[in-house]
């Protein structure tokens, strides 16, 4: 199996994408709610990712 090299950002975005899809599928009751929840969760993941990234960058000095 080929070895894959991803940056922190790429790996975290892929993680967020798959986790959001599953959370959307299993959490809500209608397809519309699932789609909205999945997208919202993904956006939250990305906002947290970028926010924490900046926090660590600024905290590091």
């Amino acid at each position: 199996m080929p070895k894959m090299n991803l940056s922190h950002f790429e790996a975290a975005v892929l993680f967020a994408l798959f986790a959001s899809i599953v959370l959307g599928v299993v959490t809500k009751r209608t397809d519309n709610e699932r789609l909205r929840y999945g997208v919202r969760t993904f956006v939250y993941f990305i906002v947290a990712l970028i926010g924490l990234g900046w926090l660590m960058y600024l905290g590091h000095g």
């Binding site: 199996m1 080929p2 070895k3 894959m4 090299n5 991803l6 922190h8 790996a11 975290a12 892929l14 993680f15 798959f18 986790a19 899809i21 599953v22 959370l23 599928v25 299993v26 009751r29």
Partner: protein
């Protein structure tokens, strides 16, 4: 609510035969429980996500956890990680049977790989819970 009603609700647990096949198949094949319960769209999405996360974890050369005991943190991390890995079902069993044995080495890619492998199993647990709820008619 009378005491009799409360008692009736307590004993009203769904029979094993109603949910065990869907949950068991869902463990072995991610999304399989949903296919069994005639929810192919959701089953397909769950399979795609869990399978992709697991394969990406392998491609990043993530390590599989082996159960270890010791102090509380070691027990939680290693036993919990092992349960997470095992929850991927056939994907985990095939990978270990085919000889995948990556040692835990330093580096962010390996580290992400380890997390992807565990997270694939944890997402599959969510899928199994969903299959259970569909099987016992708690949701559509």
């Amino acid at each position: 609510m009378s005491a009799k009603q409360v008692k009736e609700e307590k004993v009203d647990t769904p029979p094993l035969s109603a949910w065990a096949p869907a949950v068991g198949l869902g463990w072995l094949i991610p999304g399989g429980g949903h296919f069994l319960l005639k929810r192919p769209g959701r089953g397909g999405l769950l399979f795609f996500c869990v399978f992709s996360m697991f394969i990406l974890g392998l491609m990043m050369r993530g390590a599989m956890f082996q159960p270890q005991t010791g102090d509380i943190l070691t027990t939680i991390i290693y036993c919990g990680g092992f349960i997470g890995d095992l929850a991927s079902g056939l994907l985990y069993l095939l990978a270990t049977w085919l000889g995948y044995n990556q040692p835990d080495v330093a580096g962010h890619v390996h580290d992400y790989g380890t997390k992807f492998l565990v997270a694939a199993g944890l997402l599959n647990i969510l899928a199994m819970v969903d299959a259970y709820e569909i099987a016992v008619r708690k949701k559509d």
